[in-house]
């Protein structure tokens, strides 16, 4: 064509989020944690199950947020890592009799390795091209899971059934409630670790890459190292979420981890606010509850209603739920000044 080279101003795919805005303040954190701790005491078992799923998806959305919001790499393939984590936990529990809690770090480590390895070729890709590569990964994963060579381990198209853990030490609580608190603890640990990661030297390096890769590399940031690291960390955390998801649902099958899941996690991130870690739980609530709301309106058109709700949300809050948080924060500040 006319010119061999084209010079563009590198438009940022992800907005710049100053790191002080990436987490909640102390008071807000305490309130949220208290609410999350107390909620199951008044809820029914199936609501506790829903809330468990919200927390699990929140972990997965948070992982995507570290990758996209933190290091500026876009992924539509998170369902693949979620699947690897879920299957790792399931196979360890059912075939090797490993305790459910111990399977999580193993799943996380396996996924970290997968993510790190995937991040190596992904280094050469960015934007749309990276999106396609991750999209390809998500599309390929169910086919790999049901491959007949692995059928002995994966159960093939039929999947694997898992036994749900009882509360330990004879604690007087239902399996659902125990699992909820277990997931809550895991997710708080991951949240705190993630916030600290982004505040650390590595986190600042990732964000520098996100904001301007060339400038970051000129300043001596090892771009390749931090980009693959972000991929690995993100995949590892997603794997833990996948393992928890498998334990909560008590079942894994290739159909659980299609591209639909990757898209749901992506939407969760956008609705929660890209780069704002506390938004992950809002995004996760979106994933779990909005389809239920949509089908209340119409069964035949539930897909369309879901689409319309999504459009409304992005019209009102193009920056996701953090817009609300900022607004509230500003009010509080104003009130504080007046008072």
């Amino acid at each position: 064509m006319s010119a061999l080279q084209e010079v563009v101003n590198d438009t940022q795919p992800v907005e710049t989020t100053p790191k002080k805005y990436m987490a909640l303040g102390t008071t807000a954190s305490v309130v949220v944690v208290l609410l999350l701790c107390l909620a199951p005491l008044i809820a029914k078992n199936f609501v506790i199950f829903q809330m468990t799923m919200v927390l699990i998806y929140a972990i997965a959305v948070l992982a995507l947020n570290i990758l996209t919001g933190g290091s500026g790499q876009f992924s539509l393939g998170q369902s693949a890592f979620y699947a690897v984590g879920a299957y790792s936990s399931a196979i360890l529990m059912e075939n090797f009799g490993v305790n459910y809690a111990l399977t999580l770090p193993i799943s996380g480590a396996i996924c970290f390795l997968c993510g790190y390895l995937f991040g190596l070729p992904a280094l050469r890709l960015s934007g749309i091209y990276l999106a396609l590569a991750t999209f390809a990964l998500a599309t390929a994963m169910p086919q790999l899971l049901k491959l007949h060579y692995f059928e002995h381990w994966t159960g093939g198209v039929q999947g694997l059934v898992i036994t749900k853990p009882d509360a330990p030490f004879g604690l007087p609580m239902s399996q659902d409630m125990w699992l909820y608190y277990f997931v809550l603890v895991v997710s708080m640990v991951i949240y705190v670790a993630s916030v600290n990661l982004l505040k650390s030297r590595s986190g600042r390096a990732m964000m520098a890459i996100r904001d301007n890769e060339i400038a970051a590399s000129a300043m001596g940031v090892d771009v390749a190292r931090y980009k693959t690291l972000a991929f690995g960390v993100s995949a590892g955390i997603t794997g833990v979420a996948g393992g928890l998801g498998a334990i909560a649902v008590q079942f894994v099958a290739p159909d659980s981890y299609t591209i639909q899941l990757a898209i749901a996690l992506f939407l969760g991130m956008v609705v929660g606010g890209v780069g704002w870690l506390p938004g992950s739980i809002v995004g996760a609530a979106f994933i779990v509850f909005v389809p239920n709301i949509a089908e209340e309106f119409s069964k035949g058109l539930s897909g369309a209603v879901f689409g319309v709700i999504l459009v409304l949300i992005i019209f009102l809050l193009p920056h996701g739920s953090r817009q609300i948080a900022y607004t509230v924060q500003n009010w509080v500040h104003k009130l504080g000044r007046r008072g």
């Binding site: 590198d10 795919p13 992800v14 050469r124 890709l125 999106a131 390809a136 939407l267 459009v311």
Partner: protein, 292 residues
């Protein structure tokens, strides 16, 4: 050898489907600088409109032209109503918008026309082409239409004022505005053209795969892959990419023992990713130099 040639020929025949779709993908990329995940659903909806018109007694070419007009208008309206108000929202928010559009169109089409497959006529007939049973006259016609479209697009973008303006608006919006190009309408125009090309793709693909609300799901993945392989900035590359993906996939399914058939899509995708790693802007894409 005979099987090998046959498989290449059969791959080209399927590749024509991907090439068609890839062309529509590149068109929208030229206009808005990213991929539209709802592109396949828009094409599917347009094809249903053509089918409905024919059910009402409109002859094929009449329905064809009306559908083109409908799709063009539809594309412009979607841009004006849905994406223009999003304006400067982050790119990822736009992507969420595409996903919403996907869900809405798919759901509405399913409710309106059911999920049972429908036959869609071909203007070229479906007898064997030049004695080969692997390529029908329809598939040959499809390849022909794709090439004609490609030439028209090339001429449009290279030699018409409006085509040049569209390219300028997509790649350098601010500079384009400074030289007096109405970038906002250029984007809407791009949406309209992409929707119209998509509808042609849909109407050509439907006779092969049958018309139903989910008919484009698989095609779109391959269309993206083809467009990216060829280079998103090059319509020519997209078409070549389409044929390459078709042939790749078919040869993998035939010749890789054991897993070839079960994993031909992952293998084809892995090959594409490998190509991208070596040549990050695709086979025919322009190298982009980033400015700090």
């Amino acid at each position: 050898m005979d099987l090998f040639l046959n498989q290449i020929l059969a791959g080209i025949a399927t590749g024509a489907i991907y090439a068609c779709m890839a062309l529509a993908v590149v068109m929208i990329y030229q206009a808005i600088d990213h991929l539209n995940f709802a592109q396949g659903e828009m094409a599917m909806f347009s094809t249903f409109v053509a089918w409905q018109l024919m059910q009402w007694g409109v002859p094929y070419w009449g329905a064809f032209v009306l559908t083109l007009a409908f799709s063009f208008a539809g594309g412009v309206i979607i841009e004006r109503v849905l994406f223009k108000p999003l304006g400067n929202a982050p790119v990822l928010t736009h992507v969420a918008g595409f996903i919403a559009l996907f869900a809405i169109i798919n759901s509405v089409a399913g409710l309106t026309w059911d999920f049972t497959i429908k036959q869609f006529p071909s203007p070229f007939g479906s007898s064997p082409f030049l004695g080969s049973q692997l390529i029908s006259t329809h598939q040959a016609g499809m390849i022909g239409v794709t090439i004609v479209l490609l030439i028209l697009l090339f001429l449009f973008f290279q030699y018409t004022r409006i085509g040049l303006a569209m390219r300028a608006a997509a790649s350098q919006p601010e500079s384009a505005r400074l030289v007096g190009i109405n970038t906002s309408w250029m984007i809407a125009l791009g949406w309209g053209m992409a929707a119209a090309i998509g509808s042609i793709a849909g109407m050509l693909i439907a006779p092969v795969v049958f018309l139903e609300p989910n008919m484009m799901g698989g095609v779109l993945i391959y269309g993206f892959a083809a467009a990216v392989l060829g280079g998103l900035s090059s319509p020519f590359g997209a078409v070549v990419g389409g044929f390459l993906v078709g042939v790749f996939e078919n040869l993998a399914g035939t010749y890789i023992p054991g897993v070839g058939n079960e994993l031909k899509l992952p293998i084809a995708l892995a090959l594409i990713v490998t190509v991208l790693v070596v040549k990050p802007t695709g086979l025919f894409g322009r190298t982009i130099v980033k400015r700090v």
